[in-house]
């Protein structure tokens, strides 16, 4: 059934600048566009977090220039509590949607999934192009809320009801800001739906001859599983966003209860349910966190295997575990709602699968760690960031065991413990996955190597910095430090201020370390050392068997044929200790010799 010449996606190379670089149908260009979008979004999100951190540590200090962003929100550069929440909302929304979803999934997936399965392009390049441009417009709509009306919404990235539905009475940004937010996210959903359609059909339909499902690299599996989640999760968030807009603009009350008093005013809405929004949102929201992390699991496994020079202990276990994560992610969403006043019996029903979902996560990590045991790991920026990923995923994941249990979560939910948990396990870990992928694939994408010294410096500063920032969050949470506050004036929070100052300094330094990455990226793109050959890491998967950067149709008119499992390392062949998937060479594997 794999007797497929992968030419489903035929289209001639474009010649005009616009068709080549702007409205391109080429999955590689679209992947780079997604990457650029995520890069811009990441730095915007990072600057917002700087502002927030400075404000938390030194409450009265003016941040130079902040008054230019919003005169009313930050008079004289000191932000109001409302403006703090507005920046927090934008930080969360930008990071979760436009960085953690777009970079590991849409950017790298677009660029490398078709190449790794041996296809010339995705089956629906026009959808692919639309997918990026819809996402781009979504980003612009979201950013426009900084300058339109009274600023962005302050409801948090979860945009809880009823505050999202009642309008300006709920605070600055709750008027136009919410409408822009919901529009932006609704558009984003459309973009990801189109992307998921393409990813799934690419993986299943466009594989070249010999590329059976189990011969797909772990990255391809991760992107495939992620797109299966994206297909259905975003399809639920989109109507939810539309209903919020209806509540907001037309005055319906899907998500607003009767006789609600906000800011001393009885709201005209009647009859809806605030919990309903949370159910819909988290039905999307929990698969979303796996949409952010599963591509990272795939990317770091791929990179580690290449640098360990041996396959993982079990290829299939990793694939099945990622699949189990995807299935379970639809059954656990209520663990975000333990304190929402949801039916306590539901809490029980959500808690159990939440504890179960730690099993596949743990299996993935254990397979990775035990595969590392005894291997001669090649230390480079990509493999360091992969190790960092595992470290962050474990350190952040362990606190998940606590939060999975309603009895403990009720104590910790509204504190920095949760903030620390999700920043490490899905924020920083997924970021490290993005960095690892960047260092690893940069030579293929540009033909130049990134600077290793700067890369390693970037790693160590980020790694130590991230722990300095997010580990104390757990401590703060256990000490009872509530989240979402813009200042800590209560007596019992005063002793914790020095911890906040430490975190802020760490955040500023760690953020500054990301500028090293930006410099490295831009400098290497134009003046970096040329890649020595098409396969500088001596890797086996298909993307390394083609020219650098890959030609328009990926394989220069040829259709590769796959002869081997994806990770044939530690063997003796004519090129060294590995055999490429496309090499017809018969080799002796280590297990054969024993």
């Amino acid at each position: 059934m794999h007797d497929v010449a992968a030419h489903a996606a035929h289209h001639a190379p474009p010649t005009s600048f616009i068709r080549k670089h702007v409205f391109s149908l080429d999955h590689k260009v679209i992947g780079k566009q997604y990457y650029a979008l995520a890069l811009v979004a990441a730095f915007v999100g990072m600057f917002l977090s700087w502002f927030m951190r400075i404000h938390l540590a030194w409450n009265d200090t003016a941040i130079p220039g902040l008054q230019l962003l919003s005169k009313t929100g930050a008079p004289g550069g000191v932000m109001t509590p409302e403006y703090y929440l507005q920046l927090m909302t934008m930080h969360g929304t930008i990071m979760v949607f436009f960085v953690l979803t777009t970079a590991p999934f849409a950017a790298f997936g677009n660029y490398f999934l078709p190449i790794q399965v041996g296809a010339e392009d995705m089956p629906f390049p026009h959808f692919n192009m639309m997918s990026f441009w819809v996402t781009f417009v979504a980003f612009l709509v979201l950013m426009s809320s900084f300058i339109l009306g009274d600023g962005p919404t302050l409801g948090g990235w979860t945009q809880y009801a009823p505050l999202n539905a009642v309008g300006s009475v709920a605070g600055p940004g709750q008027g136009l800001g919410v409408v822009l937010w919901a529009t932006s996210i609704g558009l984003f959903c459309v973009g990801q739906l189109l992307g998921s359609l393409n990813f799934i059909t690419t993986t299943l339909d466009l594989r070249v001859k010999g590329m059976s499902l189990m011969r797909l690299p772990l990255t391809a599996w991760a992107w495939f599983i992620t797109s299966c989640m994206g297909l259905t999760a975003f399809a639920v968030l989109m109507p939810a966003c539309i209903l919020v807009i209806l509540d907001h603009v037309a005055g319906t009350s899907f998500f607003v209860a009767s006789n609600l008093v906000i800011n001393d005013q009885v709201q005209p809405h009647s009859g809806g349910s605030t919990l309903l929004w949370q159910h819909l949102f988290w039905f999307f929201g929990h698969p979303e966190v796996y949409i952010a992390i599963v591509p990272g699991l795939g990317i770091v496994s791929h990179i580690l295997i290449t640098n360990m020079r041996k396959p993982m202990l079990s290829h299939r276990t990793l694939i099945y575990s990622m699949g189990a994560l995807a299935v379970l992610s639809y059954m656990v969403y209520g663990h975000h709602m333990f304190v929402s006043g949801m039916n306590p019996f539901s809490s029980l029903a959500f808690s159990f699968p939440t504890l179960v979902i730690t099993i596949p996560s743990t299996i993935v990590v254990l397979v990775q760690v035990f595969s590392l045991y005894g291997s001669k790991l090649r230390i480079n920026s990509a493999s360091l960031f992969s190790l960092g990923f595992i470290s962050m995923f474990v350190a952040g994941g362990v606190s998940g065991f606590f939060l999975a249990q309603p009895s403990i979560d009720i104590m910790l939910h509204a504190t920095y413990f949760v903030v620390g948990h999700f920043h490490m396990v899905m924020g920083v870990a997924a970021m490290f996955g993005i960095f690892a992928g960047t260092y690893f694939w940069f030579p293929k994408m540009t033909g130049r190597m990134m600077n290793e010294t700067l890369g390693k410096a970037h790693f160590w500063l980020s790694f130590v910095g991230a722990y300095c920032i997010f580990m104390p969050f757990h401590y703060l949470g256990l000490a009872g430090n509530v989240r979402r506050y813009s200042s800590f004036v209560d007596d019992f929070l005063q002793p914790l201020i020095p911890v906040h100052r430490f975190i802020t300094v760490a955040a500023l330094l760690t953020g500054a370390a990301q500028l090293i990455f930006l410099y490295n990226l831009i400098h290497s793109r134009f003046w970096g050392k040329l890649a020595p050959n098409d396969n500088p890491w001596e890797a086996t998967s298909l993307e390394w068997s083609t020219a650098t950067p890959p030609p328009f149709d990926n394989f220069g008119g040829k259709h590769p044929v796959v002869y081997h499992d994806p990770y044939q390392y530690g063997v003796q062949s004519s090129v060294g200790d590995y055999v490429m998937q496309t090499s017809p060479e018969q080799v002796k594997t280590e297990s054969d010799e024993q």
């Binding site: 497929v4 030419h7 799934i200 299943l204 259905t232 539309i242 309903l276």
Partner: protein
């Protein structure tokens, strides 16, 4: 989106052994249908959730004639779509085109009846916010769900016309008619849930 689904694609379709031995376009349509199922399901869950929790939920419908006719028309349009596909598979281009157009015409009648019903309800004082019979949520959820369905029907009609004409012109083939048919049957399938939940459960007794 449905129209785009069908008009954007490739002239060369891969036919050699893709997954499940079905063409990629058809597979993509099925994936879209799975996603769309979730969209409708989310809306129906919202409706059920609110209806279940609201004591003064109105039951304003007195007659089932209109919705029965609409159901009959939509079901029949599915049949004509199938006949169109059979003709296309048999190579009878003229008949395939005719049956596709008949399907589109039935879709238009359905949409017409639907809009007429909306206008009647609006005449009786029902809006998104309030209605004379009970909680305002009824109007909100009724118009959202039937509106979403009507949007799908409208997209379907446009797609039927476009694909039909282009099929006649030779740009599309029987496979494209089948893919479009999947979408059309899906719109029909959703209606089978909308009728009992949104209409029949709210029938006055």
């Amino acid at each position: 989106m449905s129209q785009a689904d069908l008009t954007i694609g490739h002239s060369t379709t891969q036919t050699l052994g893709p997954a499940f031995s079905i063409p990629t376009k058809k597979f993509a349509m099925w994936l879209f249908i799975i996603a769309d199922t979730m969209t409708f399901a989310a809306c129906l869950v919202v409706y059920g959730f609110l209806r279940n929790g609201t004591p003064n939920w109105p039951r304003p419908f007195h007659s089932i004639t209109n919705v029965a006719i609409m159901t009959f028309i939509l079901l029949t349009s599915s049949l004509t779509m199938l006949i169109g596909l059979r003709s296309a598979r048999a190579g009878d281009k003229g008949a395939a085109f005719r049956w596709t157009m008949i399907t589109a015409a039935l879709g238009i009648v359905f949409a017409f009846l639907h809009i007429r019903e909306w206008l009647e309800l609006i005449d009786h004082g029902m809006t998104l916010l309030k209605n004379p019979w009970g909680t305002g949520l009824f109007g909100a959820s009724f118009f959202s769900i039937t509106g979403l369905h009507l949007t799908h029907v409208t997209c379907g009609i446009i797609a039927l016309l476009v694909v039909g004409v282009r099929y006649k012109g030779g740009r599309y083939n029987a496979d494209d008619i089948e893919v479009l048919g999947l979408y059309w049957h899906f719109v029909d399938l959703v209606w089978m849930f909308v009728v009992p939940l949104v209409y029949l459960l709210n029938l006055a007794h």
